[in-house]
């Protein structure tokens, strides 16, 4: 029916995790690493509140990217995704599974870990994906193809378990179980018998597993690596009669060794509900004894005791496995870091500045180096460097009257040190002073992307009672233009396209029709042009631009140069040393308390 297993063994192992379960994910990476793969099978996680999950790849730490929803996964991460691991709660399992297959219609299948998935959701998943995908669960610990794919907790989460159970070596016995814990017990038992597993799948103990027993058996029948089936079932339900039918009709031709648990139910006066939802005898043919006998009658080996069941593995046709041991021990000593960073600049070497008594001309400028450090990539275009340089130079200061400069000077006059005075000035930066560039970038970027007209946009913002950051100035107006804005706007002529800048200018046209002071201000022009430059000259994608905005990057364009300005004001105050600043009383409007 499905040649999934052969494709997986050929390397189609890409997994997208819906939700986050660090221990299971780490075990998948350990499996991949111990199997000798070049890269982890886990491509990305879909989970909120974080951008990356730190894991070990071997002994080295790596970051696996996380995205808030499937549509945000970048193409190069998405293109080889073949499997879903769903570790979300029972409530969310259905919606997240549907969103995965809508985004990845070509995916082979997946596994749903959660218990408590409503029956209706499970039957709906069967109707949608039962015929075309290999989807195990709900309540499944996963799917395992030794050496090729470990999808879920199946086989254990310890590196030592992975090695001990021969998970990285291809074997000959297919393992299928309703119970997650017993899936692992069987995998372990197969390894202990000297054999290995060819394929394992935990069906899950829920009433309506998406991948039914018949479907899983069809996969095994068509798998040349699987020479026999080891099956664990329980009392309750009639699924095992599917095996009986397949054996009788010769649709399943490989030896079946089965253990059906639940003889204990006969010791009680009434049928008992056991651990799994399905584990309750409702009719006589659902008892462990009845199912065991039916399997035997159809030719399966179905022992009465568990030790006899394990002993039967030895007699299956496939060959033995000799496993090298001790490789996983190496992973035991690893220790997790508690903070992640990157090397901002190369701290081990320094350029040659002076040679033979003469200056050596430098390839990097201060602005260029600042951009490299902030963006974690070297600028490709001179336009970017020149624009940053212009912004840094223009924004060093804007006179002593602005609030941040006043605070710096007042603090300096109170006798404080440089860092305190500077901090006092920097802490003034916010939405009304200097800190509007970032929000302005968000406005232009979102406005342009949404496709609304500038007038509709202004209307919508006004109605919502929001200010448009990047528009308006206290001093400059139509007829008295901000010289910095005029100078910077020339950069637009160097770009092929400047949609965010255009949008900003269109908005300005609408707002200045209302009031001459509602012009595009310096924050607004920097925000619009720098986003356009990063997009066109540096190849930033929309998602990357959005990530920069979310991290408040664009405010750095103000904070960096203005730090220089504040320090200059501080030095000036120290030089003049006029004593403590005090506001004259007549400049205060003081309201008297009511009598």
């Amino acid at each position: 029916m499905k040649s999934f297993l052969e494709q997986v063994r050929a390397g189609e192992d890409g997994v997208l995790v819906m939700g986050n379960h660090p221990r299971i994910i780490q075990s998948m990476l350990d499996f991949d690493y111990l199997s000798g793969k070049n890269a982890p099978s886990v491509r990305a996680l879909i989970t909120g509140n974080r951008k990356a999950l730190k894991c070990f790849w071997g002994k080295k730490e790596i970051l696996i990217p996380c995205y808030a929803n499937v549509s945000l996964v970048p193409e190069e991460r998405a293109k080889r995704v073949r499997w879903m691991l769903n570790v979300q709660s029972g409530r969310r399992a259905f919606d997240s599974t549907v969103s995965f297959f809508e985004a990845f219609p070509e995916a082979f299948g997946g596994t749903i870990f959660a218990e408590n998935v409503p029956e209706k959701h499970a039957t709906e998943l069967i109707a949608r994906y039962g015929a075309t995908k290999l989807l195990s669960g709900p309540a499944s610990v996963g799917i395992l193809v030794p050496r090729a794919l470990k999808l879920g907790a199946i086989g254990g989460v310890d590196a030592v378990q992975i090695e001990k159970s021969h998970l990285t070596l291809e074997g000959s016995i297919a393992v299928v179980s309703t119970s997650g814990g017993m899936t692992n017990e069987l995998i372990h038992g197969v390894a202990a018998s000297g054999k290995g597993v060819s394929f394992a799948l935990a069906i899950g103990g829920d009433r309506f597993p998406v991948a039914s027993l018949s479907e899983v058996l069809a996969v095994i029948e068509n798998d040349p690596h699987s020479k026999a089936l080891a099956y664990f079932g329980e009392l309750g339900g009639v699924d095992e009669y599917e095996i009986v039918e397949l054996l009788k009709s010769k649709k399943f031709t490989k030896p079946v060794i089965a253990y059906i648990a639940g003889i204990i139910d006969e010791a009680f006066d009434e049928h008992m509900q056991f651990g799994h939802a399905k584990a309750l005898v409702a009719r006589q043919d659902e008892s462990a004894r009845a199912k065991r006998e039916a399997l035997r009658a159809a030719g399966a080996i179905a022992p009465d005791t568990f030790p006899e069941f394990l002993a039967a593995f030895r007699k299956t046709p496939g060959g033995d496995i000799v496993a090298p041991m001790g490789i996983a021990d190496d992973l035991k000593s690893r220790r997790e870091s508690i903070l992640s960073t990157r090397e901002i600049i190369n701290v081990d070497t320094a350029p040659e500045y002076v040679k033979n008594g003469a200056l050596v001309s430098q390839t990097g400028s201060f602005s260029r180096n600042i951009l490299s450090a902030l963006l974690a990539r070297k600028p490709k275009s001179e336009v970017t460097v020149a624009f940053a340089d212009a912004v840094f130079s223009l924004l060093i200061d804007h006179g002593g009257a602005v609030s941040g400069a006043v605070n710096t000077m007042v603090t300096a006059r109170a006798g404080k040190d440089m860092v305190s005075s500077l901090a006092s000035g920097l802490l003034t930066i916010g939405p009304r002073f200097g800190g509007a560039i970032n929000e302005s970038a968000r406005t232009w970027n979102a406005g342009f992307a949404s496709g609304v007209t500038a007038s509709a946009f202004v209307e919508q913002e006004t109605k919502a009672g929001r200010l448009i950051l990047g528009i308006g100035h206290k001093k400059y107006r139509i007829g008295l233009l901000d010289p910095r804005v005029a100078a910077l706007s020339q950069f637009a002529t160097l770009l092929k396209n400047h949609p965010r800048y255009d949008f900003a200018r269109q908005v300005e046209e609408v707002t200045t029709a209302k009031s001459g002071s509602l012009i595009l201000n310096v924050d607004g022009i920097i925000a619009s042009l720098f986003t356009d430059i990063l997009s066109e000259c540096e190849g930033f994608t929309d998602a990357e631009l959005k990530a920069l905005i979310d991290a408040e990057f664009f405010n750095a364009l103000f904070i960096i140069p203005r730090t220089v300005g504040f320090i200059s004001h501080f030095l000036e105050q120290k030089e003049n040393d006029e004593g403590l600043f005090r506001l004259p009383e007549d400049l205060l409007f003081t309201r008297k308390p009511e009598k």
Partner: protein
């Protein structure tokens, strides 16, 4: 999660809406009924075969509804329902049930009402509803009005019904009467359903206090914690992990002829924390101390776990054992262990050292031994 029973009152409210004239009442309450009756008064706690058990009173006058329940209160029942009695002929009674199955809603129908369908398979017709066309077929072949089947399907769709049995069902002049309706809803869907909530699930008659305690604990964790008290004076006590592994171990006890000695069955799984395991284990130990058996064995066992941490969960069990060690030793208790999984080596070593120090040690096995090793040893001890 398993299917759970809805009260008959709430089931009929959902199916019939305001057209339903039954009234629900609890011990100590007087139901407000309209008209003089006669009425039917019933226990509404998910009990099967109420007629046979005498938990149903026919032909009750409006003023006698409360007194009709007196005898039932004596038996521990507390929730009742009163409905107007429908005069009808026995030949008008039919049987119908609807159940959610893998590929649709399965309908079982019998022309004869009040029967046990398991005992009369020849009288039962089976249909499968997968779409609108199937509804017409069922309606035509059974005579059940189309609109009623639609309202049942809507309850399966919106209210997450899993099973509905109406036995008997009476149709008079095209109008439908549900003399008795039993509904199982999917407890996993409580969050999504609007027509019922936890308070509409029938309260099972008296639970063992330890079972109730574990049930309350289980509601506060995503891990799975279950406990059934089977024989309060049994000698074989289980602290098992895993839905499947726990049955294998219990099976072994039955195979060795000790099924009747099993005091409790239950399991913890799905990665409970140390604290949760501690609280769970304490309930089992309290059971052991209450047992009159002269010699007792505790089996702490399970399969090779996928992700439940052996060190963490055994930490919780040791915390609980520490509190009970003296009493357990005085009660001739021996402890037998078999477990595998993440951090197996450390977990087993700690457990072994602890049991030896407390002179409770029977045996300790890891994943290299067969899953049934510990229970085998425990039974040898009990038989010795």
């Amino acid at each position: 999660m398993p299917r759970v029973k809805l009260t008959e009152y709430q089931a009929k409210r959902i199916l019939l809406g305001d057209a339903y004239s039954g009234v629900s009442f609890s011990s100590g309450e007087t139901p407000t009924v309209s008209g003089d009756g006669p009425f039917v008064v019933k226990v509404d706690q998910g009990i099967k075969k109420r007629m046979k058990q005498g938990l149903l009173a026919l032909n009750v006058a409006g003023t006698d509804c409360v007194s009709a329940t007196n005898a039932w209160e004596g038996k521990g029942f507390a929730n009742f329902i009163v409905e107007p009695m429908l005069p009808h002929d026995a030949s008008e009674e039919r049987y119908v049930s609807f159940e959610r199955v893998r590929d649709g809603i399965r309908v079982l129908y019998a022309r004869e009402g009040g029967i046990e369908i398991e005992e009369h398979p020849d009288k039962v017709e089976t249909f499968l509803i997968r779409g609108a066309g199937d509804v017409s077929v069922v309606s035509t072949k059974t005579g059940i009005p189309h609109t009623f089947i639609e309202s049942v399907l809507s309850a399966f769709e919106k209210e997450y019904f899993a099973f509905l049995e109406i036995n008997p069902l009476v149709i008079q002049n095209g109008e439908i009467h549900l003399l008795d309706a039993a509904v199982l809803v999917d407890s996993s869907a409580q969050f999504f359903a609007n027509g019922w909530s936890a308070s509409d699930i029938v309260k099972q008659a008296k639970k063992h206090p330890r079972e109730a305690a574990v049930e309350a604990l289980a509601e506060t964790t995503p891990a799975s914690l279950k406990l059934n008290v089977i024989n309060p004076d049994g000698s074989l006590y289980f602290l098992l992990s895993g839905g499947g592994g726990s049955i294998v171990i219990a099976d072994e006890a039955e195979l060795l002829g000790m099924g009747k000695e099993i005091a409790n069955y239950g399991e913890y799984s799905g990665g409970p924390t140390r604290e949760e395991t501690y609280l769970y284990a304490k309930e089992v130990f309290a059971l052991m101390l209450a047992s009159s058996a002269p010699k007792k064995a505790l089996v702490i066992a399970g399969g090779v776990a996928n992700f439940t941490d052996v060190k963490t969960t055994f930490g919780g069990i040791i915390d609980a054992l520490t509190e009970y060690a003296d009493a357990l030793r005085a009660g001739n208790v021996r402890v037998y262990v078999r477990r595998g999984g993440p951090n197996e080596t450390e977990g087993l070593a700690r457990m072994g050292t602890f049991l030896e120090k407390e002179r409770l040690l029977g045996s300790v096995y890891g994943s290299d031994a067969v899953i049934t090793s510990a229970v085998d040893d425990a039974i040898t001890y009990l038989k010795s």
